[in-house]
Symmetry: C2
Subunit: 203 residues, 2 copies
DNA sequence: TCATCAACTATGCATTTGCTTAGTTGTATT
DNA sequence: AATACAACTAAGCAAATGCATAGTTGATGA
């Protein structure tokens, strides 16, 4: 039996369709993103998509907007004070408990290469992640936080992909912890110090 | 005008089709992977695909095999002695000069979630990358090289994705260099020492 | 030189797709 | 209660797709 959300109430169709897009893309890919598949998953008639969004492309764009708005998750995580065991556990748990949102976003990142209208949302997402991480690193006194933030984010991003596709959660957990250790071994303040000089750790 | 490789010689069709798959997937996605698109790109009749491979699924599987065999690239790079400026430049140049192979592989990694027959090849690729990196780290005396190799590979993987989608090559270059610095700051031997004790750098 | 077989092409078709058109139903406003 | 309009459904169609069938062409070995 296919997963369908039934018993929708009047007026909830649009939102249900957007949520359905994320799940359909996550488990059938963009090739499986059809009016009928999305509608079935949302529990509505397929022509409702054309009514609300006009075209498949517009549906995808709307879904990207919608998903990125509710994708505070990693952004919150990145703004955390440090990449420690708690962070690692939270990240691994997040991916394990809601892989579809991550999968959808990765699909959209690659799709944005071919669909210019998706680029703004994708860029905003990435920049918000990397930017908040960069701020956190700067507050903690790391040197040249821009390239460091990019590198650390890339590592976390890459580990999420590995967890989604080829590796078991515990290996990923260990690797995330290792990323935290790499960070800790770089020169930085002992605690976040918004202003003024502070103790700098040398390693 | 569409990119078509014309003037094929008798007997080269199969190989041309496999190469075409990589390019088609890279610039139109898996949704754009149709018999007609691939055949046009390869400069052959679309029914030749059914002749050689039988089905679209089998074509994709064959292309994955084919591509991973000729994807010695990152593996070679990972086995390099250290992640320095030369390595960073080589990585960035590789992605810039041949993005299609990388894009194809990323698409396949995600596709392997839904197509079990692709998993062996994907796992083999990842394990060969991470494994050779782990060996290189072990030779250089890094502690717990398994999680470190996974983390470093994830960082490089993530940076490749960023270069392919959202960031300019020079930002990526800087971040790759930073990854090298993170590695250098970890305790390890000064030079690769296959056996026996050696000078251990403390940071 | 000719037989054989693989590589290759031409035609065609059932299915799936995006989306249009024409309608129905629910809700909010007066 | 009547109006009006948005949310929603039913039916259907032109185009694209995967692939089957039937044939043609080129290389190769006897």
């Amino acid at each position: 039996m296919p997963k369908t959300d039934k018993a929708r109430r009047y007026g909830e169709g649009r939102e249900a369709l957007l949520a359905a897009v994320v799940h359909v893309v996550a488990d059938k890919g963009l090739r499986g993103l059809t009016y009928r598949a999305v509608a079935e998953r949302a529990g509505v008639n397929n022509t409702l998509i054309a009514h609300h969004f006009g075209s498949r492309d517009a549906l995808l764009e709307a879904a990207m907007q919608w998903a990125s708005e509710r994708s505070i998750q990693l952004s919150d995580l990145s703004a955390t004070e440090e990449v420690d065991e708690d962070f690692a556990r939270a990240l691994v748990d997040m991916v394990a408990s809601d892989p579809d949102l991550q999968l959808f976003q990765f699909e959209m990142i690659f799709e944005s290469r071919r669909r210019p209208e998706l680029r703004p949302a994708v860029l905003k997402l990435y920049n918000s992640y990397i930017g908040s991480l960069e701020n956190a690193l700067m507050r903690r006194g790391y040197t040249s936080p821009a390239s460091l933030a990019r590198a650390i984010f890339a590592a976390l991003d890459g580990l999420v992909i590995q967890q989604l596709t080829v590796a078991d959660p515990e290996s990923i957990y260990a690797a995330v912890v290792r990323v935290g250790e790499l960070l800790a071994s770089q020169p930085h303040f002992e605690h976040a110090e918004p202003a003024g000089p502070a103790t700098r750790i040398q390693s």
